[in-house]
């Protein structure tokens, strides 16, 4: 036990390493805290998995992993995209490049699809309606 007392238990955190035996299992005793790192001017909690001996932080395996931009800016961009603005209009509004917006959108899409898949199962709706709609997908020259 250190000078500041016993380490806090992080029972809501699970190991993000897919090869770990305790991947996705929360409430175990395999996760311990491992200090903080500064990112975007804020401290981020780091963790250590005693099972697979890997380090990770609270943004590992999320849409914000590996990004350095302010999270508020990324969230605002996603809101713009989801409110009818195109990627170029969003990049002009946010003051960043189109490639950045596309990268954030891809990461957000991947994460949100995984979250949706984890929730949307064993559903029992009253009615299901199917329909199709037409859209344009084409390459532009140049």
């Amino acid at each position: 036990m250190g000078k500041r007392g016993p380490k806090g238990k992080f029972t809501h955190v699970s190991c993000p390493n897919k090869e770990c035996k305790k991947y996705g299992v929360s409430g175990g005793d395999n996760i311990v805290s491992n200090g903080t790192v500064m990112s975007r001017g804020e401290p981020i909690q780091r963790f250590f998995c005693k099972e697979c001996r890997r380090y990770f932080n609270e943004y590992t395996d999320t849409a914000y992993e590996g990004l350095r931009t302010d999270i508020g800016k990324i969230d605002s961009s996603l809101k713009c995209i989801n409110d009818g603005m195109g990627v170029r209009a969003t990049s002009r509004s946010m003051g960043c490049s189109v490639n950045s917006i596309q990268r954030w959108r891809r990461k957000a899409s991947s994460q949100s699809e995984k979250v949706s898949e984890s929730f949307e199962k064993d559903m029992d709706p009253e009615s299901v309606q199917f329909d199709e709609m037409k859209g344009v997908v084409k390459k532009t020259s140049g």
């Binding site: 849409a63 996603l78 899409s109 029992d124 009615s127 299901v128 199917f130 344009v136 997908v137």
Partner: protein, 193 residues
């Protein structure tokens, strides 16, 4: 939402994707327009060809006939148009017993309008179209998740008590923010707690 070309294989993939999310014993009322692709896709799940059945005249038939499964309720709202003008609306019961007041595709047609308004890639007659199907699919996935988890639906709740589609289906108990969606540890739902 599935971004792919129109046709029977795409329809089958789409129907399979939806059916995989339902409970085994779930028997909702399926409602489509008159597009026959859905009919064929449903037939591979809810029905079989039988021979030796009794015809209406009381004879044993030699030819196999397709029968829908019991408890499968499927209706079609078939609209006939003359140019832009709607001529007639027919309610076709393909299988099961569906009351006439439950025949409608207005929910999904209104959803189409929301998608057209909220997704730049699917707006009509403008230059914000997609250049790649994969990108369109990703944008559809993002739109669907934010719509289901983060956006309160006016007809499900009210200003004092906002309700999202996910809350209505009992999947969550509160309105999510974008940050919660982007940082949610989905792996903990995949593995049993």
């Amino acid at each position: 939402m599935d971004a792919s070309a129109r046709g029977a294989p795409a329809g089958k993939v789409f129907v399979n994707k939806i059916l995989a999310k339902l409970k085994d014993k779930s028997s909702p009322i399926y409602m489509t327009d008159g597009y026959t692709v859905y009919n064929r896709a449903f037939a591979s799940h809810f029905g079989e060809w039988r021979s030796g059945h009794i015809t209406p005249k009381g004879r044993v038939s030699k030819h196999p006939k397709f029968f829908w499964s019991d408890g499968f309720n499927y209706g079609q709202v078939v609209k006939t148009r003359d140019g832009d003008k709607l001529e007639s609306v027919d309610y076709v019961v393909v299988s099961g017993d569906i009351p006439k007041e439950l025949f409608n595709t207005s929910g999904v047609e209104r959803m189409n309008l929301t998608i057209r308004e909220r997704m730049a890639r699917l707006k009509r007659k403008c230059t914000t179209f997609s250049k790649d199907v994969a990108d369109l699919q990703q944008s559809c996935d993002l739109f669907r998740s934010i719509y289901n988890f983060c956006r309160p639906h006016m007809s499900l709740g009210n200003a004092q008590r906002p309700v999202t589609p996910a809350m209505y289906m009992g999947l969550t108990d509160h309105v999510w923010g974008i940050r919660e969606l982007m940082t949610y540890p989905y792996r903990q739902k995949v593995r049993p707690l």
